[in-house]
Amino acid sequence: MTMAEDFAIASSEPLAAGRDRGFAVGAWRSIAILALIAAAVALPFTLSNYHVFELTQVMIYAIAVLGLNILTGYNGQISLGHGGFFAAGAYTAAILMHRYGVPYWATLPPAALVCFALGVLFGLPALRFEGPYLALVTLAMAVATPQLLKYFDTWTGGQQGINLIKVQAPAVLGIGRDRWLYLVVLVVLLVSMRVAANMLHGRTGRALVAIRDHPIAAAAMGIDVARYKTLAFGTSSLFTGVAGALSAIVIGFVAPESFTLFLSLSFLVGSAVGGIATISGAIVGGFFIEFVPNIANDISDAAPWAIYGLTMLLFMYVMPRGVVGSLAGLVQRLQPRRLAAGEDQKHK
């Protein structure tokens, strides 16, 4: 299973076009983004606590899916096991808080580091595997995760998991716990997207995509394929692990049953639905993972997962490159065609 030319970096095209057209478009774009952020900050104050919690979950999933997008979308290494990294981040945070009394915000850097190291450790042997073989190896990790969590119960609390003391918002702000955590996660999400954008739209991103589309040519151009692929794994795992840590903090509870194969598959589906080689698609993916199962439940009491599955199918039929991927493709198609001699001569 190869990713190759299926996913050209469509998402960076509008950016490039914007730069070409000069200051005006760039300025409008920045204003639009700032407006969105402002709206996102204001939003929790207009919604009930439960809805705020749901949106926080959306953002957590978005960060996790963003990690997967980096690895599978931009670098072409398929992973069916990102639930494992998510769990690693979650349990790192949980153990630090529960056993060592580390304050919740201080658990994020260690979780990030641990997961980065795990990702690199995993990425090294993964260099040997391609396509379906890599899928199997990551699948094995996903399947093994809940079992390993139950096995090492002195650390993980085994089957029962770990119960955490609920995080409180700083009293001076006077907002509820849910809203506070929403804002914390929002900040992490924005930072993550910024970091990812810087990385992916620059040299590193181009190297990753080159490796994805044509590893031999990439190596011939002097790109250290092994280093970039391993880094991709580490970075991807870092993002997803941080999401996991946030999840532990927000929910206040970790248990093996939360980190099954289904979680890994959900990330993959969220990735695909949003647009796997995009950054903003991760947010769409987050919405999909969080809300579609609930909606499915509302539609059909008897077989909600059938509706969920059907929805997945419909999304893939209508937008096989994901929501953001398809939209970006559309934008590309609508732009004035800079055709001229160059494009013609490529073909017979």
Binding site: L339, D344, Q345, H347, K348
Partner: protein
Amino acid sequence: MAPILELRAVKAFYGHSEVVHGIDVAVEEGGMTVLLGANGAGKTTTLRAICGMVRSEGEIVFAGQRLHRRSTEAIAALGIAHVPEGRGTFTGLTVEENLRLGGFTRAGRPDAGIRRMFGYFPILGERRRQQAGALSGGEQQMLAIARALMMAPRLLVLDEPSFGLAPRIVEDIFAIVERIRREERVSVLLVEQNASLALELADQAYLLETGYVVMSGPAKTLADDPQIRRSYLGY
């Protein structure tokens, strides 16, 4: 004699780009027509358009039937046998299996047809149980042509049969193709970069440049044309 294949104002597309810009081509029944041109002229795209492998506009008429919107396999079943660029042999299957596949659309057992192919290409008979991928370039080209003939086609379409082959082998192959054309009464549409050999054998010739037909007529006329001589024949 009516042409067995006619292209009228045909445009062909490679993805979203139009690479052939409204050409008229005719292949006389029983004759050999050659499309000449440099790389990028649109020759292969034209062939692919005929076989429904790329998007096209305009009229393509084969033996009185419009080929518009038919699938590649339906067009093959109508009687057009296309030997693509790069041979297209099934490298994982044996020589004999490749030939049997050629007979897929024909009723009855393929054995008689296979024997006749071995008559034209004895080397294939010797290697009948070998994997096609193990054959040399020239042998694979022969296999590809033989497989096309197994379809008992009315039109044989050959895309650059000389590609990557030594001159001696190319001559052998073209000699066999000419023999086949006469004995099997098959029309031939040939795309070639090797202009001199093609013009010797063909009846009609068309010269394509960047998707347009810039010259056409009897092969002899084109072969004598000074501009063609300079650009494509080297003298």
